[in-house]
Symmetry: C2
Subunit: 447 residues, 2 copies
């Protein structure tokens, strides 16, 4: 396909990774990206830090510009261009130029759908915000800078909700988080989410465990209704999660999965062979549970985009799946997880057990360290490590990654205990928290 036409719908992590890798795999192919916003290649995970002011310039979140892609990679980038419809029979995509209102039909030999995710946004109003993309970030920042809100509601206590609560708190606002389920941080077990909740409370972030709805208040600001009571705030942020933007793919005839995302094979090919999909619009396989899941993350978007780009351009690459490794930073406390939570580990692994342990991030005698709390989830039947969760002020995310390798490799606790990990007093105790947690688990395993 040296003279093929590769069309990519979506110009963020997955779409632009695909474009870069397609160009690397094939110098001759025509590559066009259509993106409905004015922005491409933006690190959305940085937005909470732009809101908090830690990152001053939102442009710094742009990994590579349109000009870079056009000049250096020979990739045509059409921003403010919405893909309206995929006509797979004629291999073309109907587009709308949002500036001029002009429609066009772009033909392709291979198509990559990297349409991203849509925020769940049941409430809207002048004082109600969400945070999915650069435009959302700019609107919210503009509102904060001009209206100086003193208090904010965050509806949804997942990682993004808590990162945003943290950003608001850093700006000096009073913050209340509404969480409809019994615990914050879905995907974490209560041994970690409960101390995080206490940490938030200790830093003046209030948590109300109740489903909540929001609407603009007649007097300005927002009324949040929860548990039969009404609360008033200067603003509200909705952080109820993301759904796969799979409509376009579905309408084109691509098979969708039970988790709501586009289904692909290991080459990121949809059920229509000329159409690939990647990023937040697809579902992926959890390699530990074997189940397809919808977990939209920047890491997965980059990896699946890369694989889709290589294959669509005639190369050869595979993406096997994820193990749900994720980290977030909440008021300088890192919370991270990988593998299965105890709740998720219910089926197929025999008797499940878990241990919680505490350890120091540095050698006990070395100044400046802090406490790391770890939970390990494992099969008592086989000894296989299934999941890990940690919280702490330093050295958490990459320790979760050490365990992520163990989990992805389906290692047993006794083999993990034998790992040769580094020790340097400023960075780790002689028994690293990872090994200490595993040794604690082994004691329970032997009982």
């Amino acid at each position: 396909m040296s003279n093929g036409q590769l069309l990519i719908i979506g110009g963020n992590a997955a779409g632009m990774s695909a474009a870069s890798q397609a160009r690397r795999a094939n110098p001759d192919i025509d590559i066009t990206v259509v993106e409905q916003s004015p922005y491409i290649s933006t690190a959305h995970c940085g937005l909470p830090y732009y809101i908090s002011g830690e990152i001053k310039d939102i442009n710094s979140l742009t990994a590579r510009t349109k000009e870079y892609f056009e000049d250096k990679r020979n990739v045509k980038v059409l921003t403010m261009t919405k893909a309206l419809r995929i006509v797979s029979s004629s291999k073309s995509v109907e587009t709308l130029d949002l500036r001029s209102g002009t429609k066009a039909a772009l033909s392709y030999s291979r198509l990559i759908i990297a349409a991203g995710g849509d925020v769940v946004q049941p409430y809207s109003g002048k004082y109600i915000f969400s945070l999915r993309n650069t435009q959302d970030g700019l609107s919210l920042k503009k509102f904060i800078d001009s209206s100086h809100p003193m208090n904010a509601a965050v509806i949804g206590g997942g990682m993004i909700g808590l990162e945003m609560a943290s950003s608001f708190r850093k700006l000096g606002m009073k913050v209340t988080v509404f969480e409809g389920s019994p615990a914050i941080l879905p995907g974490f077990d209560t041994e970690i989410s409960a101390p995080v909740e206490r940490y938030l409370a200790g830093h003046d972030i209030k948590i109300i465990k109740s489903k909540a709805s929001a609407s603009d208040s007649a007097s300005g600001g927002v009324d949040v209704s929860a548990g039969g009571r009404s609360h008033h705030y200067d603003m509200a942020l909705i952080a109820l999660g993301t759904k796969a933007a799979a409509q376009l793919a579905g309408a084109a005839g691509c098979e969708l999965g039970a988790a709501g995302g586009v289904r692909t094979n290991l080459k990121m090919q949809t059920s229509i062979p000329s159409i690939y999909a990647a990023g937040d619009c697809i579902e992926v396989k959890n390699l530990i549970s074997g189940k397809n899941v919808y977990i939209p993350l920047g890491t997965t978007a980059n990896k699946t985009g890369r694989v889709a780009g290589i294959n669509a351009a005639g190369g050869d690459a595979v993406f096997h799946g994820i193990i749900a490794s994720a980290a977030g930073n909440i008021l300088n406390m890192t919370v991270a997880r990988t593998g299965l939570s105890e709740e998720e580990a219910g089926d197929g692994f025999g008797e499940i057990a878990s241990v919680v342990s505490e350890s120091a991030s540095r050698a006990d005698y070395y100044p400046g360290g802090s406490k790391i709390t770890s939970k390990l989830i494992f099969s008592k039947t086989s000894g296989q490590l299934l999941g890990a969760q940690m919280m702490g002020k330093e050295g958490v995310a990459k320790r979760i990654d050490i365990l992520a390798v163990c989990i992805q490799q389906k290692m047993k606790l006794r083999d993990i205990a034998g790992l040769d990990l580094t020790y340097a007093p400023p960075e780790a105790p002689v028994w690293d928290p990872v090994l200490k947690a595993v040794n604690t688990a082994l004691l329970k395993l032997r009982k």
Copy 2:
């Protein structure tokens, strides 16, 4: 062996780990530790930070006291007691009380030799120091505090030499390191050791590549002779490495290995079944090269002590070996390695290749990050990752540990590239330095 007598020679990392684990495995056994110094259970890796003043109280390096072991663990601890001779035929050890000069014979049913290592110390004098144990640390600190040396020579540019050079520099001294081989940091390849050398030079630590000898100067201080020239310093530290203290074991008839340490099986049993050995006096198997090596490290001492203790007390544990994971901190720069260096990877893996890459420790747009330089060593024939080396100001040691798991699991580059690692802007870019390095290696693999 409920009424057995376990005798342990050596009261530091390996010996006291053995004592603790033996007690856990067997509540009834008699356990006695003999230690020739007045100190037990000391984290010697913390000594450079005691010298620099970052750790104020040398007692904080003592993980557990003699009283703790005697009162809480029912372990008898005889300090200032030197083991003179093991008589394996009568299962007894001849000891000398260094305080009273009294000799005694202690009988055992099982013996653990955890005699540690001896520093290579070809030069001695009033102004010449080494740093192996608490006594060394106290002597050196006392000299510095009373004599206020303005300049120091460090003879030996390995990790300990450089950590001590760093400590002296932090105290404001002028420091010169003498290294007899062409590069500092044995075990690292020049792609890492050369930038470390530049970093040291940039922080006013001079490196002279020459074998050196030292002797007290007639006028006070030290004369260091190197390359036909004589240099004068207020003091010198000898850091030429450590040898296994294997004399006692060897004289008792325990088999020693080619690397100079006591040989053991996976249960840490020597060639005499009632005698176990652990810690810096043994040699261990490098699980990647398959060769026996002498690499004295606190991590290995703790692990082998643990296994020796469990087995000697009638339990069941194994220690398979090491992959030479090690980290050090030199003027706030972490240098770490795992697996085989390119030089070590010569045999048995087909064609060897390596790549060097640079990456940021945090998301590019997030403030405060720093550069990480990585080198990966791999087999071009099989794609197996064989070794990794990194340097950087943050996030280095635990990233080396991520790769240590991969290497210990004998993973191939393409499988490592598929690992699901975490991403949080304050702690990692979306493509973690680990994955970026692996992707760079994959490009070379495919050529």
